[in-house]
Symmetry: D2
Subunit: 345 residues, 4 copies
């Protein structure tokens, strides 16, 4: 099968290529870029070298739809909402790594993203690709909206206790920490090495566009869930997200019971690994891989649950989950092309 | 005046020396080490060079008490609880940077520190040196217990809203992030570069020994405060602590009112700087300085307050605040020896 | 085929496992540790998770030689020189990642390593595994001595101009920079995060044990080569080596001619990538992969050649090249199990 | 005395302010910016806080020359060459941190900087401020050209052996490593955190504009010195430069004799610290301070000298040396305002 990657010169595009070139069911990846059309990929990304060095092609919907069965968008906000519909109408399947199709309600999108939403027709059609919890719909998807990096770590961490209604519905606080690659490849003072190194910054306090995405899913699981508090911090590292999640238990619990619940919830999910009681994952333990590792605690003094959920923001939080969704959409083994162990140290 | 520093080969000791050598009221610093007695300081810390290169002396209580008016302990747990009483009995003043005298209740100390507490006589005598909120007692102190790094950032961030009773007493959650120097200079796998770099780790979940220290002070301010949730994360940087603090407001608020409260609370505190509404400090903005910078937010969606409090863990969180306390104890200008701008970038 | 890894709890061992678990010709990896026998690997390396979680077994030569065709040593100095001979005598093939068998002259080993050399019988038998330049011998090897990380980057960078006799034989200076993982996993003050971060250190000036290894190979290629100057620097990053190599050209040259020479020299070497004139590789461009990327310059003002050679010290500088050698020894495709693109960023 | 800082929103400007605000002879610093005129400094640099929060003023030559005795330029290339002459003509003294007045020969400037040189009149008038070696001229300077960061580390490292004619004149190779702050505060892909972190890059191979600056000084000391090889590497840290310098000794030497020579050469230089034989400085050992630390080695195998010279690129490599020059120009104590110990760790 042939694949198209639109937006090949960003970090998401580079990661898609890293995994897809070794994918057993993918024959060729065609690369497209609106900003850098005509150059060799290696002029933008020297690490790909000659072997993977293709010329970045101009985006031509008909030709792409003709050559490729699936089109990945790894583009900035606002691109796929404009371009993806044409591909779908031509019969191609689309997997969108941007946030353009994640929110069902266009008005909510516009309030948080401060830009125009895509048409409601396609918003409703889009399937939210949190793979572990939405496989029946993903199998049938033609327009797959890949979850954001923070929502992936947060939702996988919260799903078992929200679905089992173990927590007070208004008690969820998520303190998230992310590596800088989540900000993409565009240079700015906020990602300037000398400003970020040896520094922790909080940003978009109470206003991050991933908040409604998380709440939409939580409320689909449990309609009584109230607005959450969600904070994002920039950490002086390139990759990795840790979501430290706090919630008040409705009733006294034990950590053993919590670990059991998580192990059961994810027993068929090869990419979610649950730590033993008393053990917690660090971001480096999933570096470069598609794993989401989770540890849980229960504090008898406060009656609060703490969930620690880590992913590589560019893999399970972007390209890796997108390929996992591709595998589900195509009926392939869910692990195809993703059997990489984390790179450590 | 002459000063003794016991534990000069740790990071706290090095920072004390950095500030005290330029302190206008300090004539000489004598350095002591039990583990490295007899060597030149520059053999342990090459950065001090020849100018500050003293021989590390053996600890001799009588001689030290004779030569020095004030004795700083920058020692691992368990040292000052044993040694400090002798100095006090000899008439010297003691400023202890370790946790040995921070908790009034020896049983609580033993439960959280897993080691024997100092005698109750000295525990009761010790004055807790959170400078901004305890000056009347600090002025009279003979045994000054310098606050922990996390408690300093947390308590300065919480004081105004706890004292004003603006928050639900059982709603405090502190998500703290620290640079690695907080772990001291002793090598271990947990502080091994290749394990810590490009990594975020959570540690001592619900069991950090700074929890009772924070709660003791909060309850002294407002006896209805309930146990807090407090998490600590290791960040791949050397210096800096950010405490991101969450609490539920009892009544609807506005960020402007919060900022006003904080500005008023700290109007006489030259080392606490309050950010404008919508602005938050990052750890690098206080690097190497004695400042604690604070930003606050109020989220109408959730009714929660977020307080972001940052310090340099080795300065305001250790040596700097210790010198600030020295200044108060001696009746000097509170800023003496501490008028350093943060080093940026 | 089954493989044994002795020393599975170090970084070299972890990398061997990362590659070998996806290797098409390897059925099982058995893991051995003398220091941590009996524990699960995940107790030492949480990133491996359950899938790769084997119990670390006790080293039993007969049993290992019975079950495994090839034994990898990823052990500290002095281990394989003692243990490897028994395996060879039992008919197993040995690939040694340590320095124990790299020097042909035991007296030279003892002078630079300050420890006892292995017996001359095995030193002579050992084949030096700089894959690109020694395949005929590697194919027949029973005891394969895998090159050091610095020698790999340096020798691949120097080979074309040394073999072609383009440079003054007494003019070679190598200024090498390495990430901290090269120091292994044992904690020490030299690898303590707070000492290494935001720091560049030079170490083992004129006395690094890789110097005789490099000179031995250079002189095998060109017996007139004189002693080299070789400096090693510790860089605040985890992985990566850059060797910046300086040498005086015997005759005026051009960069185009140099690039041509390098491209020709490595035209059959899929893991060596030569940059265009005016372009130079950075260490991140080979991160996690088995590539050695090389850029060259010629300065008309000074008549000097500059060669910049980068590798991932744990891959091409250790585990990756070891597997590349395994592939050659077994007659498999040289790329088997190593077709990973660098992970970027 | 009052001071003007032109270019206060760059890193050089921020460092000037850090030191000058505590300088015993400086009353006020007025800040100027062409790009950000009218804003408060704290809007650009939050770390300065309210205490130092001045409004950035428009550049008005007459008014500045009227209020300020000395004008510092901490500006990008091309600014001071245009603006400085007017200040000098008005009777102000100028200290220029940019490269505009460092080269005596305008044609050389234009060849290496690829931009127009300042007028020869001012180029000849400018005094090169390598403080340790040019005090007689600095005392009389009206236009002081502050050395580049790399030249400072390199020249202080080379001076003794070049002046004593101990080395072959065509044998100098300098391999320099720098933190990222040397690239200034302007965001670009080359300083984007995700591209620089966990990475070593070489840049401007054989073409760095500091090459002619170094050679000009070396040849003034010893006219037989030939063109040097000089390479610059970007290191994943914010501050610090290490210059590793190689040169061939004309005659056999010993490290003791070399250390003696260096100690003697710098016996009156409080900011240059020479390490003992066998010891070498790391960049962190001068962090935030005006020190240049130097270690030397002699290798009997090769007859080469290795000099390791480290500075903080923003202090001794920029703002600190500029203030040291101010002190000399004004006849003050050379250490005034610069008595900071390095901040460690």
């Amino acid at each position: 099968m042939n694949i198209a990657i639109i937006g090949a010169t960003g970090y998401g595009g580079a990661e898609l290529l890293r995994f897809l070139r070794n994918h057993p069911h993918v024959r060729r990846c065609y690369l497209y870029s609106s900003s850098q059309e005509g150059i060799h990929l290696s002029e933008s990304f020297a690490h790909v070298g000659e072997i993977d060095d293709a010329i970045l092609k101009k985006i031509d919907v008909e030709q792409i739809a003709d050559e490729c069965e699936v089109v990945f968008f790894a583009t900035p906000p606002g691109v796929s909402s404009t371009l993806a519909p044409a591909f779908i109408d031509q019969g191609a399947k689309v997997i969108d790594l941007s946030g353009d199709f994640r929110l069902k309600d266009g008005a909510v999108y516009e309030a948080w993203y401060k830009r125009q939403a895509s048409s409601d027709h396609y918003l409703q059609q889009a399937v939210y690709g949190l793979t572990e919890w939405n496989k029946p719909n993903i199998r049938k998807a033609r327009l797959l909206s890949n979850p954001g990096c923070y929502p992936t770590a947060t939702l996988l961490g919260l799903a078992p206790i929200v679905k089992e209604q173990l927590i007070e519905e208004d008690s969820i606080i998520v303190d998230a920490k992310s590596g800088v690659s989540g900000a993409g490849r565009k240079a700015s003072l906020n990602t300037h090495f000398s400003e970020v190194n040896e520094n922790v910054k909080i940003y978009k306090v109470n206003s991050h566009q991933h908040i409604p995405e998380i709440e939409q899913m939580l409320q689909a699981w449990n309609e009584r869930i109230q607005p959450i508090t969600f904070s994002t911090h920039l950490i002086p590292m390139t990759r990795g997200i840790m979501a430290t999640i706090y919630a008040k238990a409705k009733h006294p619990l034990s950590v053993d019971r919590l670990v059991d619940l998580y192990k059961t919830s994810y027993k068929d999910s090869m990419f979610v690994r649950i730590r033993k009681p008393g053990q917690f994952p660090s971001t480096k333990e999933v570096y470069g891989s598609n794993y989401c590792d989770i540890g849980v605690a229960y504090d008898e003094r406060t009656g609060r649950i703490t969930v620690v959920s880590v992913i590589d923001n560019l893999v399970k939080g972007a390209a890796g989950q997108a390929i996992q969704n591709l595998n589900v959409m195509m009926g392939w083994n869910e692990e195809s092309g993703l059997t990489y162990m984390p790179i450590y140290p």
